[in-house]
Amino acid sequence: MKSQTMRDAFFDRLYELALSDRRIMVVAADMGAPSLDKFRRDLAQQFINIGIAEEAMVTVAVGLALSGKKVYTYAIMPFATLRCFEALKVNVSLMNVPVTIVGVGAGFSYDDSGPTHHATEDLSVMRVLPNFVIYNPSDSFLAARCADMSYNLSVPCYVRLDRKVLPTVRTKAFDIAAGYRIISSAKDGYLLATGNMVHQAVKIAGILSKKSIDVGVIDIFRIKPINEEILVDISSKVAWLATLEEHLLAGGFGSSVAEVLVDRRISTPLKRIGLAEKYYYEYGGRGYIRSVCHLTPEIVAMEIRKWLRD
C-alpha cells in the first residue's frame, strides 16, 4: 500500500463517495490537502472554504445538514473542536444532527507548532457530548474506512486524524464494526492503544517480550462507544492492562477504559499511560517531545516494569 497521510486517505475515499452522492459536502476552515484539491476542482458545489471561522463552519454545516446534506467539517484539531465546542454542543450534539467533524493533528502531530496546535485535550471534552461517535484511526487504511463509517452514520461523528504518514498496521482480518483490532495476543498483559500510539505500543511490547513479559497489543480505533465486551473478555484472560495515548490522562482514552472496568466491577489492574496535566513548549520533532513527556517506547516499557514490580 502506498504511503499516504490519514488526511489524504480519508478525503480520497470521501471523494469517491461524493462522486456518487452529491449530498456530501465538505466545509473547511482554510485547510487544504491534495485530496481536497479534487473536491475544489471536480465537485466545486460540494466544497466550501469558509475561512478562519470555526463557529460559522459548524453552524453553516448544521444548516446544510438540516437541509438534507451530508456534511463534513474540517480544521486543525483544536480549532475543529475546542474553539467551537459550545457550537458543537448546542447545534450538533443537542439536536443530534449528523455532521462529521474531521480534525487533523492528533496529539503532537504538529510537532513544530507548539501547544496551540497540539491536540491533547480534545478527546476528553468531545467524548462527553451525547450522540457523538468518535473514531481515532491508527493508520491510513483505517482513516479511509472512517470515511465509510461516518458516511453511514445518522448521528454526529468526530474523526481524529494524525498529520504524519504513519506505517500501515499489519493485522489479521478483523471486523471493523467492532471498533478495535487485535494486533497481537498474549498471556501476561495487554497494551490498549489508540491512534498514533498503537505503533509505539507494538515497540513497547517488543521491548517487554525481551524481558520475558508476554504482552499483546489491541488497537482501539472507536473510542465512543467503546467496545466494552472486548475489555471484559481480555480482563479475564491476563493479569494486567495498560492504556496508551498521546493525550492528557484526565478524561482521555485511558479514563474511558477505566470507567468500563469500574462499572463492570472488574478488578484487573490497569495502568494509564499518557500526558500529565501540562503543556509542552518543546520542539525538535515528535520523538523528542515524547522523550520529554515520557512517552517513548523505552521509557514506557520501563514504567510498566516498575509498575508491575510495585
Partner: protein
C-alpha cells in the same frame, strides 16, 4: 376588519397570551418577547411566511429561525395560535411535564432549531439558504436576532459568509430594542452604526419601525422575485417590553415575569388595549 387592523388585534391577543403564560409560570422573557410581537405576527399572520401548520416539516416551507431563543414565549404563542400544536401546551410553559421552557426547543412542532445560546441562528440559516440554492429550492430563510446578540462574533462570521455567497434568499431581522440583559447595548459595547455594519458585510439593509405593520410588511414584500443579489437585513427599531408602560425600556425587567400587584396591572393594561381595539 382590514388586514392591518386584523394584525394589530392579533398582536394584542398574543401579548396577553404571553403575559398569561409567563405569569402562570412565574418566569419567562416577557420584555424580549414583547419587542418582537409585531414582527412575528406579521411573519405568520401577514402572509409573509409559507408554512403548513398541519405539516410542520413541509419541504417547501419558508424557514424561520428565532435566534434570540429567550423570546420563545411569543413564538410558542404564535405557533399555537396558528395550529402547530394545541393551545393547552402554553398553559404548561415551564411546568413539570410541560412541553417547553424558557428557551426555544427544536422538538416543538414548527420550531426549526434549538436556540438560547445566542449567536448561532444566522449561521444555521445561512447553511439552509445555501442548501436551498444548491438544491434549486424556492423557500426563503428568515432569522430573527436580538440586537444584543449582535455582540457575538459568530453573528458576524455568519454575516460575512452570507454576504460573500450573496445569499439573496436569506433575511436577517434584527430586533433593535437597544437593550441586552443588564444594560443598554450602546453602554456595554456600542453597536451603532448598526445598519452600516450590515451593509459593509455585503447585505442590503432597511431600517423600519418594528411595531408598524405597514413598515414590516413593506420590508418583506417582493422577496420571492429575488430582485436583489445580496442578503437582506431588516433592522427593526423596537421597544423592549412594548405594551406594558412600566416594563418598557427597563433593563431590570429582562428575563422575568411580573408578580402579584404588578402582574395584575400588566394584564389589566393588555386587556384594556385589546378592548380599545374592539
Amino acid at each position: 376588519m382590514d388586514k392591518i387592523d386584523y394584525l394589530v388585534d392579533k398582536a394584542a391577543r398574543m401579548r396577553k397570551l404571553v403575559m398569561e403564560m409567563c405569569i402562570r409560570a412565574g418566569t419567562g422573557h416577557v420584555t424580549s418577547s414583547f419587542s418582537c410581537v409585531e414582527l412575528l405576527v406579521a411573519l405568520y399572520h401577514g402572509r409573509v411566511l409559507r408554512y403548513d401548520a398541519h405539516s410542520p416539516s413541509w419541504p417547501r416551507r419558508d424557514r424561520f429561525i428565532l435566534s434570540k431563543g429567550q423570546a420563545s414565549p411569543i413564538l410558542y404563542a404564535v405557533l399555537a395560535d396558528c395550529g402547530f400544536f394545541p393551545k393547552s401546551w402554553l398553559r404548561s410553559f415551564c411546568q413539570a411535564g410541560g412541553k417547553f421552557g424558557v428557551h426555544l426547543q427544536h422538538d416543538v412542532p414548527g420550531v426549526e432549531i434549538t436556540t438560547g445560546s445566542l449567536g448561532y441562528g444566522l449561521g444555521i440559516g445561512a447553511g439552509m439558504a445555501l442548501a436551498a440554492r444548491l438544491n434549486r429550492e424556492l423557500y426563503l430563510t428568515y432569522v430573527l436576532l436580538g440586537d444584543g446578540e449582535c455582540h457575538e462574533g459568530s453573528v458576524w462570521e455568519a454575516a460575512m459568509f452570507a454576504g460573500h455567497h450573496q445569499l439573496n434568499n436569506l433575511v436577517a431581522i434584527v430586533d433593535r430594542n437597544w437593550l441586552c440583559a443588564t444594560d443598554f447595548t450602546e453602554n456595554c459595547m456600542r453597536l451603532n452604526p448598526l445598519h452600516k455594519k450590515w451593509a459593509s458585510f455585503g447585505w442590503d439593509v432597511v431600517c423600519i419601525n418594528g411595531h408598524s405593520f405597514p413598515e414590516i410588511l413593506s420590508a418583506f414584500s417582493g422577496l420571492d422575485s429575488r430582485q436583489r443579489n445580496r442578503p437582506l437585513a431588516v433592522i427593526a427599531n423596537t421597544v423592549k417590553g412594548r405594551g406594558v408602560d412600566f416594563m418598557e425600556n427597563q433593563p431590570l425587567w429582562h428575563g422575568i415575569a411580573p408578580e402579584k400587584e404588578e402582574a395584575r396591572h400588566a394584564l389589566c393594561r393588555l386587556k384594556k388595549q385589546q378592548k380599545n381595539l374592539i
